[in-house]
């Protein structure tokens, strides 16, 4: 399967009377977005804000971040099974509004959503401080049930991102990158001497707002399966998560999966990137056993030499990570796993909830318990008082001057387990 990604570089975002993309500027007509979001009768009101790199702006609590993209050629549309109808995506041409994002906020679960600072200490830890963000502050109707609320905010973000993405449909991209993986037999014939490597992506599926969707299907109701790596670039996987901010994968992360990108970088040179294996992180032991058995089975069936395994979340999913790693290794397939750590504020505690000697190649996104000081910002989009209750904060995290003292956990994407960042620990 072959996909051409056309990057339309966005260096500024502004409100305007007409929504359009022109000379690298994303112009947004507020009414266009409001009308779109308010189609959902569960949303009472929506405020639109802009947050640009370097501004003294804090966004919190952040639910999801989504990159605007659109299909230019080829079957299907963005976010198949959710926004577009179900159709296999990942081939043809897709345009990307590189450098921009839609950020959704709202108090849904309250303690499991994150912070994005556009400047200062906190900005170093989140990749989203470098983007031109359109922020949706959605106000639900009174007494809306939490799961409905989550769904409404999730859909508002996806619809907005799709609308903005479509603005770039007829624009000639600044840069084009081609991603292609061959069929199994074709790959073996083409690269007879290269090791066969797959990417095992563990999807957060613990339930109760710990959900990920694949072509619209709730991942906790899926069996481990395989996918072309380019399908994710067209929105085959999206986030419905309200989990700890630092190591949840936003939809932006799924669209720009760095493991996929870096395996493609080596594809045909040092390795043969065979496919993606998608597996879940359910809470029941039987599910964990079934899913990890299935992952190892597919690795063997595909005659892999190696598998890079990424995690999402921590604690309970540590057991899925170790089960996957161990079972894949026992099939004679070499693994590298990507995780993050909860080693305590002093860094002295056990980092993971599970371990195995076969997990001898680990990449870490850093210790999420590390305490940081986030200076006060001139403007806060959202609800600053949630600093006292979000995961990683404590009563008193929000100081009188508007600054925040909390664990790194509070920052959206800080210790990402797809290896999106440079942060690590030793």
């Amino acid at each position: 399967m072959k996909l051409e990604l056309g990057y339309v570089n966005i260096h500024d975002i502004q409100f305007a009377s007409e929504s359009k993309v022109e000379k690298g500027v994303l112009y947004v007509n507020k009414e266009d977005i409001k009308n779109l979001v308010l189609e959902d009768e569960n949303i009472k009101a929506v405020e639109l804000e802009i947050a640009k790199p370097g501004e003294s702006v804090r966004i919190m609590p952040v639910k999801d971040v989504i990159e605007p993209r659109c299909k230019v050629e080829g079957p299907g549309g963005m976010f198949p099974g959710v926004i577009a109808k179900v159709d296999t995506v990942g081939s043809g041409k897709t345009n990307v509004l590189k450098g921009s994002a839609v950020v959704t906020t709202g108090k849904i679960v309250a303690f499991q959503e994150g912070i994005i600072d556009m400047c200062g200490e906190g900005a170093k830890y989140t990749p989203f401080s470098a983007l031109n963000n359109l922020v949706l502050v959605c106000e639900p109707i009174d007494n809306l049930e939490r799961h409905e609320h989550e769904k409404s905010v999730r859909m508002a973000g996806l619809k907005t991102a799709t609308f903005l993405g479509n603005l770039a449909k007829n624009i000639t991209p600044d840069e084009v990158k081609v991603f292609e993986t061959p069929g199994l037999k074709e790959g073996i014939e083409k690269y007879p001497n290269l090791p066969r490597v797959a990417y095992v992506q563990m999807l957060q599926s613990q339930g109760l707002m710990h959900d990920t969707y694949v072509y619209g299907v709730d991942a906790k109701r899926t069996l481990t399966t395989i996918m072309n790596p380019t399908e994710g670039m067209d929105g085959a996987i999206l986030s419905g998560n309200c989990v700890s901010a630092c190591d949840k994968n936003t939809t932006y992360h799924h669209l720009n999966n760095p493991v996929v990108a870096d395996l493609f970088e080596q594809h045909g040179k040092t390795l043969n990137f065979v496919c993606m294996i998608l597996t879940n992180e359910n809470v029941y032991l039987a599910d964990k056993q079934r899913s990890s058995d299935w992952t190892a089975k597919l690795c063997r069936l595909l005659d892999l030499d190696g598998a890079v395994v990424s995690q999402e979340g921590f604690g309970n999913p540590d057991t899925d990570l170790i089960m996957n790693c161990k079972k894949i290794e026992l099939q004679g397939v070499k693994t590298v796993i990507i995780t993050d750590e909860y080693a305590g504020q002093d860094g002295k505690s056990q980092s993971l909830a599970d371990a195995d000697p076969l997990a001898d190649a680990v990449v870490t996104g850093g210790n999420a318990n590390m305490v940081i000081h986030l200076p006060a910002m001139d403007k806060v989009i959202g609800y600053p008082e949630t600093a006292n209750i979000i995961a990683g904060g404590h009563e008193g995290s929000l100081n009188k001057d508007g600054s925040i003292d909390a664990e790194l956990q509070v920052i959206t994407g800080a210790t990402n387990e797809l290896g999106f960042n440079k942060l690590s620990a030793r």
Binding site: P258, G306, I338, G419, L423, R426
Partner: protein, 348 residues
């Protein structure tokens, strides 16, 4: 600012006194630099000065550790240095042991910053949890490299500067995890690690797996109706008032209590000492953590033979694995001697 004063410890071999035949050499202090001190002197430049070198034979310190350490401590004390440096010992086992022991002692007894260096597989490297050790090559051919890494860290330690992660400041991982920014993003590091692993080349994991001591379960008890069953808990259930003062966190000991004739744990008689969970419900009814009432029912119904007369208890909260292991090794012997067939372990 005056120069940082350094005392350097080396063995008889590096002092050019002799090899194995001189390994019984007793501690001796000489003014200024000896042997590898020269390389350190050059690396320190104007910032620090080795004021004295202490020499000791590897066999002597190995066989008379207490006396040798005491003698060296006295010599170090006389110099009132800002830093104590030992080695590097490379892969010399007894020298490595000496460097580990002596740096630990100087740090603990004199409160002076210490640094040593050795090969990662040197048995002396066990000291890495307590003192900073720079990993070196396995032979003295790696002296130049070792000094280049040790000297800057030594100066940082002497000046009391913040020590960064082990990967940045070149010391052996000491179990304390420190965040820092790598040059490449995580996914790139993972793919690079994969390529090395596939090619059978050496790679370094960013998080070495801790060794979890997994215990294989014993075969099932065949005849429960005649089995003597004991209760053991890390949930901190103790007689009211916590008579043995088991700590609420990081317990230093365990308790053994007689429950002969006790049919039910009540709010008046038992409570929890545990500080890691909401004690309300355990204090209301301690059977929720240590199910004596249910065990008595099972005893009456003939499902089990007998509930053991004593229960063992400690607090699991923040308690080191090493302590927990030590407790269990002790009381397991008693349980066996008392003819206990099965143990029910409860947590919180």
């Amino acid at each position: 600012m005056s120069k940082i004063k350094v005392v350097h410890y080396i063995n008889q071999f590096f002092a050019n006194i002799g090899g194995e035949e001189m390994a019984d050499y007793k501690p001796e202090k000489r003014a200024g630099i000896v042997g590898p001190g020269l390389a350190f002197k050059n690396a320190f430049g104007e910032e620090a000065e080795i004021v004295a070198t202490i020499i000791c034979g590897d066999s002597y310190i190995g066989e008379h550790t207490k006396e040798a350490v005491a003698a060296v401590l006295e010599m170090v004390k006389e110099e009132k240095p800002d830093l104590f440096l030992a080695g590097p010992a490379f892969n010399a086992g007894r020298y490595g042991f000496a460097c580990g022991e002596i740096t630990k002692a100087v740090k603990k007894e004199l409160g002076i910053p210490v640094l040593t260096g050795m090969y990662k597989e040197n048995p002396g490297a066990d000291a890495a949890k307590e003192v900073y050790i720079v990993p070196t090559k396995n032979s003295s051919a790696g002296m130049r490299d070792a000094v280049a890494k040790m000297a800057p860290l030594a100066l940082k330690l002497a000046k009391g500067e913040q020590i960064l992660s082990s990967a940045e400041d070149n010391y052996m991982p000491n179990g304390i995890r420190v965040n820092f920014f790598e040059k490449e993003r995580g996914s790139k590091r993972a793919v690079d690690m994969m390529i090395k692993k596939l090619a059978g080349k050496e790679f370094t994991t960013e998080f070495p797996m801790p060794s979890f001591d997994r215990v294989a379960p014993n075969p099932a008890v065949k005849d429960m109706a005649h089995a003597k069953v004991a209760l053991v808990t890390s949930g901190g259930i103790v007689p009211k008032g916590n008579p043995d003062h088991i700590e609420s966190s990081s317990a230093s000991h365990y308790g053994k209590y007689d429950i002969e004739g006790v049919m039910d744990l009540t709010a008046d008689t038992y409570e929890t000492a545990h500080g890691g969970y909401d004690p309300t419900y355990a204090n209301e009814d301690a059977d929720r953590v240590l199910p004596v009432d249910v065990m008595r029912d099972l005893e009456k119904e003939g499902v089990i033979g007998k509930l053991h007369r004593y229960f063992y208890t400690t607090v699991g909260n923040g308690t080191a694995v090493a302590s927990a292991k030590k407790f269990a090794e002790e009381f397991s012997k008693e349980l066996k001697a008392d003819g206990v067939d099965a143990v029910i372990l409860t947590s919180t």
